[in-house]
Amino acid sequence: MLRIEYAYWLIGAFLLVAAMFNARAKRWAMTAFWAVLATPFLFGEAILDANARGVRWPAQGMGLCVIALGALAARGDLRMLPEAASAVAARLRSAAALGNRLFLPALAIPAITLALVLVAKYAQSRDFALIDPAQPTLVSLALACVIALLIALRTTRASPVESLRQGTRLLDTLGWAALLPMLLATLGSVFAATGVGDSIASIVAVLIPTDSRIACLAAFVLGMVVFTVIMGNAFAAFPVLMAGIGLPLLVLRHGADPAVLGSIGMLTGYCGTLMTPMAANFNIVPAVLLELPDQYGVIRAQLPTAIALLAVNIVLLYFLAFR
């Protein structure tokens, strides 16, 4: 049976390769960053097992690794150099030669993922566990990536080393931004464990009538938007608002459908992302790129859409979550 752990080992190995490419280029901060990040993938299961048995030093070491990643990211020299003009010309030649065949491996990733999920479901109904039934989508995605890579290597006639080098180039371009969703989720867990959600929930309980379904929903939606505007990221707002209002009040008390609440609640936060300069890479960077005189020009252009969509989301939440 294919377990999700195999995919994690694959990620760990790729991160080590990325560290190696950076070491060869003598970019030591990058080398350390990817090498440290490889540890939760290579040893994650062992660390969690040890922690469950009461051996706590590996988990504590992992905690130190998280702090080290923060310190390395703060050094700010995790930047890449721009590419040469000859590389652009070579890409244009190759694009003309390969044509639409280039789309096939890219489209193969989602297509194969979907197919594998369906196959796994069918196999499971026949009592044959091909893919870990706990994580079918993720295992399928990992397997689809491997298959798509083989197709891409065949299409481009490139060597596997080349694909690892190009993968590393993309990873380096992302830099610390690649880590942000994972870290924000970690912060969410820490907030939950330290009672931040409970504190907010108790403040909300004082402020709004928790018996009222509409009042709770309004507080949740408003909170998602305000937190997202302040933090510039719906990912960061989600765990706080879910732990504070969504789970205790809407799901457990008023019986909201968790899948609907999670999905549309997150998208409500996205409406906030469209409104805030804190989401710099989406709202401020393009204004600079397009040489707009007003740095809030893009936000102004999408504000009416964001507000109208927010209203639609509230209505959708009200009717779909409490079916």
Binding site: V66, G70, S94, S163, V190, M266, Y270, N313
Partner: protein, 231 residues
């Protein structure tokens, strides 16, 4: 109740407002929140470590990078640009509505970074939008900027309200992971499908707005041209 852990939220807000490195802000916020809750250093470190490991599924997209990197190196982006540029005889509204739809569908299939402000909007969509608008009427400076901003906004809306329908997108996994830790088991597919109504609403709302802005630009009177009477 101990309200001091809320200091962690304050650190996040202050850190983002003062534009510190987000990774550092998040790590510091976690430490502050834990210490304010009265946790010991050992407990806090192992909490950080185990939470980090439990959330590692969020980095699964890294496995797509060797594939996408290789294809990009062989001209995937250039090919995509050439393909989109084939639709040259479009009006501003049709061009942007088509791009919006295409961007949403690509994002739904996880091809989120195939397009973007640097990759497609600046080199391709913005110039094409200006050209499409100018075919109908000459643009003054203010309207040219409106067209550009609308192009960037269209990319954002298409991206945001398509990606959540993709099964393996980070947001879907974040939602699933949150419930899983609270003992509620959900399939990612169930979460992703509930993003569809909002995705459709986003398409309709933004398409109507594109048409409205395009119409207002078409009817706008650049300085020096004869005004229409009672439009």
């Amino acid at each position: 109740m101990n309200y001091w852990p809320l200091l962690g939220v304050a650190v996040v807000v202050a850190g983002f407002v003062t534009r510190r490195n987000p990774v550092l802000v998040v790590v510091v916020a976690g430490l502050v929140s834990g210490l304010a809750a009265g946790m010991g250093i050992g407990d806090l470190l192992s909490l950080l470590g185990t939470s980090f490991i439990s959330n590692r599924a969020l980095l699964l997209f890294v496995l797509t990078l060797p594939v996408i990197g290789l294809l990009e190196h062989h001209g995937l982006r250039e090919r995509a640009q050439g393909w989109i540029a084939g639709f040259r005889s479009l009006t501003l509204a049709r061009l942007l509505v088509n791009y919006l739809g295409l961007r949403q569908v690509l994002s739904m299939f996880g091809l989120i970074d195939l397009a973007g402000h640097a990759q497609t909007v600046r080199p391709l969509l913005a110039p094409m939008s200006e050209a499409a608008a100018e075919r109908e009427r000459p643009l003054d400076e203010a309207n040219r900027m409106r067209v550009r901003a609308l192009a960037a906004a269209t990319d954002n809306v298409g991206r945001f309200f398509g990606e959540d329908v993709f099964l393996a997108f980070g947001a879907v996994l974040l939602i699933q992971g949150f419930y899983e830790r609270q003992g509620i088991h959900l399939e990612p597919l169930a979460i992703a499908l509930w993003a569809l109504p909002t995705a459709i609403a986003a398409f309709v709302i933004h398409a109507v707005r594109i048409a409205w802005v395009a119409r207002s630009i078409r009817r706008h009177n650049p300085a020096g041209t004869t005004p229409h009477a009672a439009d």
